[in-house]
């Protein structure tokens, strides 16, 4: 709650008798004015400027400095960052403390890179930078800080990118360290932001693997859905869903691409891995996911897997596009149905958007060839307007019913599910 909000609203609360004048003053005292906080930022800005000036002096003269001095500067700033971080943590300033320790970790990576550069040294595998990922993962266990949890995931993605692009090999160790190290850290202390970043980082590495090995891009979904399945097994529903976000977005975009471009057999041909191997691997991941859903009683989210139906094995052309469209519709419908049952506003919006996208794709796909252009846009616009009006009305009535239910039964425990309504 902002100070400004309190200042403008609280006199009305006093006149309405919600709180007394004394309570109002105590509330105001609890949230100090923003001006004080802004002044508190000045030393930070000042020290950043001083630090930048020192950095530019060193960077400008870097090549002229003696080797030992350069090495000493690297190691000195590394140790100073960690020591400063520990100092601020002991004094209770967690934000600065964790920031400095994160800086120490970044300086370690810079130290490895700049020292190799100092000796014009070339390594032919990732072992030099692997130590960076190892230290990052270890630090994320030693401190309770979101920055330090996110850093090893980002560093792992960067190291893997360097490794595949510059050295032409995939570092399974980096992938394993991030997946197991950061993954276990998330498993023990779930966090939604970390879950999404972790999933996105792992997906990035999986994509690099696919690109490097010249495999069919559909193989990407085996590791991606493995990440998804891990989310099914987690006891914390929100954290699990956050981990499943990036794989689902990837799968949805893929299905959308198939609906849009799947007609050309050439594109579909790029997607067809050996049937038995791919379907076998996908079935294993699917079984793993279903087992997790059953264990945590979340079988309602099973229709997510519709997006993974391997429609690309169908012959290219209109049948493939239409089959994919049907899948997109059924998926959007399943999201809407789930949202109506649970009454979550965000899920309702998501389902509505997915439904509209599917309709748009279907319309563009199927009627462009048969209609005059102006008529095409007119009908499309009317179709979308009426669809959005209908879905909005349903959402509004659904949410209003939910609110009324919650208000009416606030003293009682609300029933776990309301009777499902017929689908649109």
């Amino acid at each position: 709650m902002s100070r400004k909000f309190l200042e403008t609203e609280s006199p009305a609360w006093v006149t309405e008798g919600l709180i007394t004048e004394a309570q109002r003053e105590r509330l105001l005292a609890r949230y100090p004015s923003d001006a004080v906080q802004a002044v508190g930022l000045l030393p930070l800005l000042g020290s950043i400027l001083v630090g930048l000036s020192a950095l530019s002096v060193v960077a400008a003269n870097w090549q002229s400095l003696p080797t030992q001095l350069r090495l000493g500067l690297l190691l000195g700033s590394l140790v100073a960052a960690y020591a400063g971080g520990e100092y601020f943590l002991r004094r209770g300033n967690r934000r600065v403390g964790h920031g400095l320790i994160g800086l120490g970790l970044v300086l370690f990576g810079a130290g490895i890179i700049l020292t190799s550069q100092l000796y014009q040294l070339v390594g032919y595998d990732v072992s030099g930078l692997l130590a960076w990922v190892v230290v990052g993962v270890l630090l994320s266990y030693l401190y309770e800080s979101q920055t330090l949890i996110l850093l090893p995931i980002v560093i792992g993605a960067a190291v893997q990118t360097y490794c595949t692009q510059a050295l032409g090999l995939f570092s399974y160790a980096t992938m394993g360290l991030v997946a197991l190290g950061s993954g276990y850290r998330w498993w023990r202390r779930p966090d939604t932001l970390m879950a999404s970043v972790l999933a996105a980082g792992l997906l990035w590495q999986a994509a690099l693997w696919v690109a490097l090995s010249h495999s069919k891009i559909t193989w990407f979904f085996i590791p991606a859905m493995l990440v998804y399945a891990a989310g099914d097994w987690h006891r914390d529903r929100a954290a699990g869903r956050a981990l499943q976000g990036p794989p689902l977005v990837a799968a949805y975009l893929f299905a959308l691409g198939l609906a849009l471009f799947g007609e050309t057999d050439q594109y579909a041909g790029l997607l067809r891995p050996p049937v038995l191997a791919y379907l076998g691997a996908l079935a294993v991941v699917f079984a793993f996911s279903v087992a997790g859903k059953r264990q945590q009683s979340r079988l309602a989210s099973l229709p997510d897997w519709l997006l993974l139906l391997p429609g690309f094995y169908l012959p290219g052309g209109l049948p493939l596009a239409i089959a994919t469209l049907v899948v997109l519709y059924v998926h959007a419908g399943s999201v809407l149905a789930r949202a109506h049952r649970s009454g979550e506003a965000e899920q309702l919006t998501l389902g509505t958007v997915l439904f509209i996208i599917a309709t748009m794709v279907a319309y563009f796909k199927l009627t462009w060839a048969f209609l005059d252009k102006s008529l095409f846009f007119l009908i499309g616009g009317v179709l979308l307007l009426s669809l959005s009006w209908y879905l909005r009305r349903r959402n509004a009535s659904r949410l209003a019913a939910g609110v009324a239910l919650a208000a009416g039964g606030s003293a009682l425990i609300p029933p776990p599910t309301s009777p499902p309504e017929p689908l649109p």
């Binding site: 590394l78 520990e86 014009q120 040294l121 070339v122 032919y124 130590a131 230290v135 309770e144 050295l167």
Partner: protein, 181 residues
């Protein structure tokens, strides 16, 4: 897992920081050891463009060994872009190294040969583009390259460690700096 300031936590942090310092020192040590225990070869390059030195701290070296005829390829399958390769070089005591062959797997060279690792950048009709990751030379402050104004001809001294790392030891002007100017 919350941050605790117990003695064991502090000890772990100190050990971890010490390990990082040792690791960076280890990288520096590998640099020294590559020169001390490595095999030394001379590589020829095209004349160096010094213009980039006005904006950056390094120059690009274009090795003559970076483009080899396709006939030098010794692999069972045709070379592919980004593939890691082993380049066999014929060396003399004080002469420039020449490419004897490009292999897709490790090999044991004669005493008068050296193996430098690299990557295929491009496969052309008749030639093969190679990259050694030694293309960037960070010019030290006291290097004669910093005095030159035109594109001097140079040769590059490279050390190859028995464990596979390589480094540029130094870059020498072929003519006297006065002549280069």
């Amino acid at each position: 897992m919350p941050t605790r300031h117990t003695p064991s936590h502090r000890l772990l942090v100190r050990l971890l920081v010490a390990a990082q310092v040792l690791y960076v020192l280890g990288v520096a040590g590998a640099g020294y050891a590559t020169t001390a225990y490595g095999q030394h070869i001379w590589l020829a390059t095209a004349p160096v463009e010094l213009h980039s030195l006005q904006y950056e701290s390094f120059v690009r070296l274009r090795y003559t060994a970076a483009e080899v005829p396709l006939t030098a390829w010794r692999g069972p399958t045709p070379p592919q872009r980004r593939q890691a390769v082993y380049v066999l070089l014929n060396t003399g005591p004080d002469s420039l190294a020449t490419v004897a062959g490009v292999y897709d797997k490790t090999l044991n060279p004669n005493p008068r040969q050296a193996v430098l690792r690299g990557w295929v950048t491009e496969v052309y009709n008749r030639t093969l583009g190679l990259r050694y990751n030694l293309e960037r030379y960070y010019v030290p402050g006291d290097s004669p390259l910093r005095l030159g104004k035109t594109s001097p001809a140079v040769r590059v001294r490279v050390s190859i460690a028995p464990w596979g790392q390589a480094r540029i030891e130094r870059v020498e002007l072929l003519k006297k700096p006065t002549a280069a100017r």
